[in-house]
Symmetry: C2
Subunit: 227 residues, 2 copies
C-alpha cells in the first residue's frame, strides 16, 4: 500500500470540497475500503473570502490562514497538497513557500490538459470574476498560444457560483450553467470550467466544443500521486 | 464564529464518510462558506477491516490505527470527534480513553432518538453482521425496553454493504435495501439504519414504520456541537 497522504486545503467552498472527494472515490478502482486514497482534509470556514479580498478589496488577505492550514496538513502527515478552489491559486506561491511538500497546482494541470487536447487558441473561461481580474488563467495560457474568452453574461456566472455557496445545486442552476456554456461555446475552441462551484453544477454537461473541468484534472493528479 | 472543530475519523468506508460531509453541508443553514462547520477529516484506508477482525477473526485489531487517527485529529485542532461507522463504535471506548476531547457516540445518539420517538419495543436493525454479533445496539437498547429484530435475509444486507464499499450505490442497490426494509418493517415498530454504507443507499426511503438513520443523528449532533 502506498504511504502517500493527500492533504486537502478545503472549504472554498464546502460543497466543492465534497465534490472533489466524491470524484476521487468514483475514479479510484477499488473493491474495498483499503484500496482508497488516504486523505487528510481541513474544510475551514475561517479562510477569508478570496472574492472579497480580490474583487472588493474589502476583506482581509486569506494568505495567513491558507498557510496555517497547509502547515497543519503537513504536520498531520500529508505528503502532498491539493486545493479545490481555482481562485485561491492566486495565493499558491505563498503556500508552496511555506511548506516542505509539493502542491498539485490545479491551474497548471488544467492548462496542460488544454495543451494536450490541442483544441485551438480560444478558451472560453467559466470562472469567478476574481480569476478573470487576476489573469490567473490568462497568464498561464498565453505562453501556449491560447487566450481567454470571457462570457458575455459574467454576472450570471457569478450568481451561479454564489448560489452553490448558498446551497443551490438545483437542476435549474445546472441548466443555467449549460445555457451560459452553450453561448460561450459559439465563440471559442474549448471551454474551461475553472471554478469548483461550477464543477459541482457541470457533471454530465455535453457541449459542441471540448470541455475541460479543472477539478477533474486535480482529481486525476491526486489519484496518480497517491499511487 | 464558533471555535469548534469537528474531527472526523473517516474512511470506513470513504463513500459513507462523504455522505456524512454532504449531510452536514445540506443541514447547515449557511449563505456563504464562512457559516459552515469547521471540519478536520482523516479518511484512512489503513484502518484494518472491522468486519475481518470481528466476524472472521482473520484480520488485525483496528484499535491502534483508530487511536492514532483520533490523536492526530486532536493534535490538528479538533475540539470533538465523530466516527461515521457504526461497527467501529465497538472500539469507541479505547478511542475515548486515548484522547482529551469528547467523541460524539453515534450508537448512543441513535438509541436516544428511538427513545424520543417512543415507537415501541421491536427495533428492526439494518446493520453489518458484526454489529449483530457484538450486540452493539442490542445491549444499548435493552435498558430502554427495546430489543433488536434481525432481518431474515441478513446475508443480503451484507451484500449491499460490501457493494457500497465496491462503489455500487445504484438504483438497484437502493431498491434492494428498500425491499429488505419493507419486509423487516412488518415485524417491528421502528427501523434503525445502523451501517453508514446503508445510509448511503437509504436517502429518501419511505416506510410504514418510523425509520431512524444513525448517520442523521450524528450529523445533527455535529452541527449542534459546532455551534
Amino acid at each position: 500500500m502506498s504511504r502517500a497522504v493527500a492533504g486537502i486545503i478545503g472549504g472554498m467552498g464546502p460543497a466543492a470540497t465534497v465534490e472533489l472527494l466524491q470524484r476521487i472515490i468514483a475514479r479510484t478502482a477499488a473493491t474495498d475500503d483499503a484500496e482508497h486514497v488516504h486523505v487528510l482534509l481541513e474544510s475551514n470556514p475561517r479562510i477569508p473570502s478570496r472574492l472579497a479580498h480580490l474583487l472588493d478589496r474589502s476583506g482581509p488577505d486569506p494568505t495567513p490562514e491558507l498557510v496555517r492550514v497547509a502547515r497543519n496538513l503537513e504536520a498531520g502527515g500529508a505528503t502532498f497538497l491539493a486545493m479545490p478552489c481555482n481562485t485561491a491559486h492566486h495565493y499558491a506561491g505563498a503556500i508552496v513557500a511555506a511548506v516542505g511538500i509539493p502542491l498539485l497546482d490545479m491551474v497548471r494541470l488544467a492548462v496542460t490538459r488544454l495543451c494536450t487536447l490541442g483544441a485551438g487558441g480560444r478558451v472560453g473561461l467559466l470562472a469567478s470574476s476574481a480569476v478573470h481580474d487576476t489573469r490567473l488563467y490568462a497568464d498561464a495560457l498565453a505562453p501556449h498560444g491560447m487566450r481567454v474568452v470571457m462570457p458575455a453574461r459574467q454576472h450570471e456566472v457569478m450568481a451561479l457560483i454564489l448560489g452553490v455557496k448558498r446551497g443551490d445545486a438545483s437542476d435549474g442552476a445546472r441548466a443555467g450553467l449549460e445555457a451560459l456554456a452553450a453561448e460561450l461555446g459559439r465563440d471559442c475552441d474549448a471551454i474551461l470550467i475553472a471554478c469548483t462551484e461550477l464543477s459541482v453544477l457541470a457533471t454530465g454537461m455535453t457541449m459542441p466544443v471540448p470541455v475541460v473541468d479543472a477539478l477533474d484534472e486535480l482529481t486525476d493528479a491526486i489519484i496518480a500521486a497517491a499511487g
